[in-house]
């Protein structure tokens, strides 16, 4: 069809550390050694927490949870690029980043044992809790971004979500609102290739997820999500742009969910072991460790020491978690409304009377 061309668009991809740990020095971000090491510690801690939780879950000491193994570079790299005053608006597989921002290890244990106490991160008030309804948190991020702008704060927002979330209507509405409002929001898509059993190419026919930004005249970029440096750099650039009034960005981090969707899932039903093994070879931790080694920041001794330190830290958290017993049984009545309501209070009394009667019968 002969026609007039109205515009062209392109989408690009970035990698700084390749699978062998080779560095593209021209792109290496400026970080202090402390930051470099902190990033590694964050990733390693997250991996250890994941593994420990898996054991606890298998032993019946924890409920269902969604492991993040394999996605540590994406989560921690993005978190590192954020300021404390930025808002971290996660989905349900973003504990690595939350840990980097100071969420206590017990939080995820409590959360996955069925306690709202696990959503309380008093040291990190701008780290929001897990959003279970896929895609819903993206709109909160837009509103938060707008609020920051409105209040004249130079804080920005990073919201995380999966490849599956890009199919939700809320994804679309959020990106459109953010673009129209030029809200300081980074939409960080953890494209881990699967949404439970649905592979990425059946989720949407687009070649990339990054190109979905074109629909909103928004910058969209793909990064190697197993490359912590590329993730950091892309997120930092997007945050800088957001802070300076340049509006939102969509980042697609190409990574992989190395474990099951949740501990209730059996991935052998829908994907091959070869595929999983191929992605293990791209393990973000291995690659980043090589980078640290090449910069003379790391060696076997330090690795051992850090592993031991982390194991102890996790063990202590598990202990605190398992010893915790102060769950106020009628707490839900405290948080229906901020103001006391007589009807709710009457229900609380009936509830407590029943609990007491049952206890005395038992």
């Amino acid at each position: 069809m002969p026609t007039t061309e109205l515009g062209t668009f392109s989408v690009s991809s970035m990698q700084i550390l390749d699978e062998e740990g080779r560095l593209d020095e021209s792109l290496e971000p400026e970080l202090t050694d402390e930051q470099r090491l902190g990033l590694y510690r964050g990733m390693l801690l997250a991996r250890e927490v994941d593994q420990r939780m898996l054991k606890l879950q298998r032993q019946g000491r924890l409920g269902t949870f969604a492991p993040s193994t394999g996605q540590e570079a994406s989560s921690c790299g993005a978190a590192l690029a954020m300021r404390e005053s930025d808002w971290f608006v996660p989905s349900f597989r973003e504990f690595p980043g939350a840990l980097m921002r100071g969420a206590p290890i017990e939080a995820t244990l409590l959360y996955h044992n069925g306690y709202e106490e696990g959503n309380v991160f008093d040291g990190s008030p701008r780290t929001l809790p897990v959003a279970v309804i896929v895609g819903s948190q993206l709109l909160h991020a837009v509103g938060l971004g707008h609020a920051m702008k409105q209040k004249g704060e130079d804080s920005a927002v990073v919201t995380f979500f999966g490849d599956g979330a890009t199919s939700q209507g809320d994804f679309h509405e959020a990106l459109n609102f953010a673009s129209v409002w030029q809200a300081p929001v980074v939409f960080f898509c953890q494209n881990n290739q699967w949404a439970i059993s649905l592979p990425r190419d059946k989720q949407t026919r687009s070649r990339t997820l990054a190109q979905k930004a074109i629909a909103y005249e928004m910058p969209g970029v793909q990064v190697d999500g197993n490359d912590a440096l590329a993730v950091y750099r892309a997120t930092k650039e997007a945050l800088d742009r957001a802070r300076s009034g340049g509006g939102p960005t969509l980042i697609e981090a190409v990574t992989y969910r190395l474990m099951m969707h949740t501990t209730a899932d059996d991935p052998t039903k829908y994907r091959t072991e070869e595929e999983v093994q191929a992605w293990w070879r791209k393990d973000p931790l291995v690659r980043y460790r090589r980078y640290l080694e090449s910069r003379g920041l790391w060696d076997g001794g330090r690795q051992e020491a850090l592993e031991a330190e982390i194991r102890a830290e996790v063990e202590a958290a598990v202990k605190r978690f398992e010893e915790r017993k102060d769950f106020k049984i009628d707490e839900p009545f405290d948080h229906v409304f901020g103001a006391r309501d007589q009807g709710i209070e009457a229900q609380r009394r009936a509830f407590l009377d029943r609990i007491e009667a049952e206890a005395s019968r038992a």
Binding site: W87, E116, E117, N119, V120, D122, P125, L128, P129, A131, I133, S136, L138, L139, H140, A141, V142, G143, L144, G145, H146, A147, M148, Q150, K151, G169, D170, E173, A174, N176, F177, V180, W181, E331, P332, D334, H335, V336, F337, G338, A339, D341, Q342, G343, I344
Partner: protein
């Protein structure tokens, strides 16, 4: 005291609260230069500018979802859904997030926001423009649902809703928007949320209503008084969640008879809950079954037929007489 209609009274409350509190922002479709399809936001965009009066893209989940984020971020958003018929699109965000943030974080975060929406029938409007879905919102714990019935209480309840620390669905009976005027105090007046109001005292029967049915209920009460000398107490619920069960029980204990009238479909409507509250607290005082005047369990008919299906003063009077004569 100026006499205002409900649109003016709501507009007044918005003006007052935006002046008083910098963090109050409005968002919705066509609320800016167009001043809202019912002109509820008249003058606000001109006065407070596009920074605080945001015309949004056409997306209700977007409006309410973004408002949640604004509230988390320290603003006090007042969102408008153009017609409540489109509010189901915002329900996932209301049910899934707005109503839960406080409880989810054990009070560390809350979502102080108001979602205004005109609702109800009788205005010869197109499909989806005449529904009454208060029972759906009312069933969601953590979500306040408020329905004013007069200009004065609309202003006072909206001020309370905006100042409340939690999400409030504020359903405006559009049939009453311009139907009558009422004196509204010069100074901002704030009514507590969660309380019903005895709009007319009586001893012989309790007539429970809300929203646009208050006026026909009062007319029916007068007609019954004229015809029979019976004194009907009219209880205006004002708050759908939480419901003022004490006020319902207290009145029914006094009168022994009750009629509840609603514009919504019968099955699983608020009238059923009113009856359940009477069952819980005052059943033994009842001298007759509670009369239920409702819409029918049919898909809301287009406006050519709608008046045949809706409660009105004569039908309320009928229902009251029937319950009195039981």
């Amino acid at each position: 005291m100026p006499k205002l209609n409900m649109v003016q009274a709501i507009n007044l409350a918005l003006h007052e609260e935006m002046e008083r509190d910098e963090s109050v922002v409005l968002l919705g479709e066509d609320i800016g230069p167009d001043e809202g399809v019912f002109r509820v936001t008249a003058g606000l965009w001109k006065k407070f500018g596009a920074r605080r009066v945001l015309d949004t893209p056409l997306a209700e989940s977007g409006i309410v979802g973004a408002a949640i984020g604004m509230a988390l971020g320290g603003l006090r958003p007042v969102a408008e859904i153009q017609f409540s018929g489109f509010s189901m699109l915002a329900l996932p965000q209301l049910e899934g997030n707005a109503s839960r943030y406080r409880s989810r974080t054990q009070g560390r975060h809350s979502v102080p926001m108001v979602v205004r929406m005109p609702y109800g029938g009788g205005v010869r409007a197109l499909e989806h423009h005449s529904e009454s879905k208060e029972a759906i919102f009312g069933h969601i714990p953590g979500l306040r649902v408020v329905i004013p019935s007069t200009p004065r209480n609309a202003r006072a309840l909206l001020l309370a809703a905006i100042r409340d620390p939690d999400p409030v669905v504020f359903m405006e009976p559009k049939h009453s928007y311009r139907a009558f005027k009422e004196e509204v105090p010069e100074e901002p007046e704030v009514m507590p949320l969660g309380k019903a109001h005895v709009a007319l005292e009586g001893e012989d029967l309790t007539l429970v209503v809300w929203g646009a049915l208050l006026r026909p209920a009062l007319a029916a009460a007068q007609a019954v008084r004229d015809a029979r000398g019976a004194r009907v107490e009219v209880l205006d619920l004002l708050s759908i969640n939480p419901l003022d069960g004490e006020a319902i029980a207290a009145s029914v204990k006094k009168t022994g008879r009750c009629v509840v009238a609603q514009e919504a479909a019968r099955h699983l409507g608020l009238g059923s809950e009113v009856i359940a509250r009477i069952n819980d607290e005052a059943l033994m005082y009842l001298e007759a079954p509670v009369g239920r005047l409702t819409h029918f369990d049919v898909v809301t008919p287009y406006f050519g037929r709608e008046l045949s299906y809706m409660p009105n003063a004569a039908r309320i009077e009928e229902a009251v007489l029937e319950t009195l004569d039981f």
